[in-house]
Symmetry: C2
Subunit: 242 residues, 2 copies
């Protein structure tokens, strides 16, 4: 089956967690909105679904995935669907729930990183909430990042007799997402992360292990990987980097 991914074409954003799974899984997929508008691509491809009042299961927001006739939204939910199909989730229910739980915790971290630069409103520009962003990001770097990164470090420590991944013996979509978290935080907060990440050697090693996987390495070197920029979740504003 050819999957269709629908996400904002100019950013990694939340769509990137799905892209990484599709790439590592060797899936046949089309990143629809990145195609030319005249061939049904562009942002209007997204809007068609968001505004389609005949669609039984409408997404609240991108990203969403079309798989045959099914339209599935919410990043973690799309990964819940794709995981077993792409060999990126455990076979048993308890294992799948655990990987999903990790993904939902990563989603919470992503929300907090987003709100670092947009603490007041997504509908305002960063410069319209810059003072609040400074205050919120200071807390993010001091309190929240250590809590989240320390949590994932602890998971890797607990799982080290089974393997080198977050859950069980094999790579799952949660490992790919953990890679993206480290990459994103390094981009957004290079100074803070240079200090912080020394405390999380297992998480950094996981990041390296994911980056070295042939399909991921090929993807990262391709133009399918959109560079980080200041429209996405992970934004580099030097004044926010402690």
């Amino acid at each position: 089956m050819r999957y269709e991914l629908y996400y904002w074409p100019g950013i990694q954003g939340r769509g990137e967690f799905i892209r990484l799974a599709l790439e590592e899984g060797g899936a046949d997929y089309l990143d629809v909105a990145r195609g030319p508008q005249k061939n049904g691509g562009g942002v209007s491809a997204l809007m068609r679904y968001l505004e389609d009042s005949d669609l039984a299961h409408p997404p609240f927001a991108p990203p969403f995935l079309k798989a045959g006739k099914q339209v599935i939204a919410q990043t973690a939910n799309v990964l819940l669907f794709l995981g077993p199909r792409l060999g990126l989730a455990p076979a048993n229910e308890a294992g799948r729930l655990w990987v999903h739980q990790l993904q939902l915790t990563i989603a919470d971290l992503v929300d907090e990183v987003h709100d670092g630069h947009h603490p007041i409103s997504s509908a305002l520009y960063y410069h319209e909430q810059k003072l609040e962003a400074r205050r919120r990001t200071a807390d993010l770097i001091k309190q929240r990042l250590p809590k989240y990164l320390g949590y994932f470090e602890g998971i890797l420590l607990r799982n080290q007799r089974s393997g080198q991944y977050l859950a069980g013996r094999s790579l799952t979509y949660a490992d790919l997402s953990a890679f993206q978290i480290v990459e994103g935080l390094r981009y957004a907060f290079p100074r803070a992360m240079a200090k912080l990440e020394k405390r999380y050697p297992r998480l950094v090693a996981l990041r390296d292990r994911v980056a070295a996987r042939p399909r991921i390495a090929a993807y990262l070197a391709s133009d399918r990987r959109i560079p980080f920029n200041e429209n996405g979740i992970f934004r580099h504003y030097p004044e926010l980097d402690a």
Copy 2:
């Protein structure tokens, strides 16, 4: 099986979405931290799990559910587990993913409501971020609540040929959560909601339908239902209510 729910004992919070499912499903469950400390209850019951370095699948934060030997965290993930077991989720995979997608969208709304009174940091008191809270909540009421509530109203409209619930013909855990959203918003923002909710008659009717279900009605009338208060997600600060 007797389920054990672990959540902060003094608030509805995120645990309430699980309590409502357990109550409607007629589950045998213990709300562990609400029990007396000398019998293993209280906040120390939560902390025991959060600090247990031998636990293979540790929660990042409450709520979490113990089902036999399994410990499951993240509210939506717990409901994903409980849904089929309590007769509160569709039988087929596509239906389950759809209900989960709705629940994850409700979880996003819950996060936004929380950040209305805590836009800078969960580690600070409300009065330490009151100015920012005014600004963020004004945006929440003006932009975000209409977007979310309008989305759920639209879902009910699309599904009205099948039934009176959000998904398919039968009640699911997403309906119980939608009830809680309306209740919470009415408590937090009585003036704003009095105006807003007129635009969402199907959602209000769903709230009434859930409230009238015998097990939910009995639960709401019992002392198992903790009253809303200013330590939870939905807080009534008159100065934030437009």
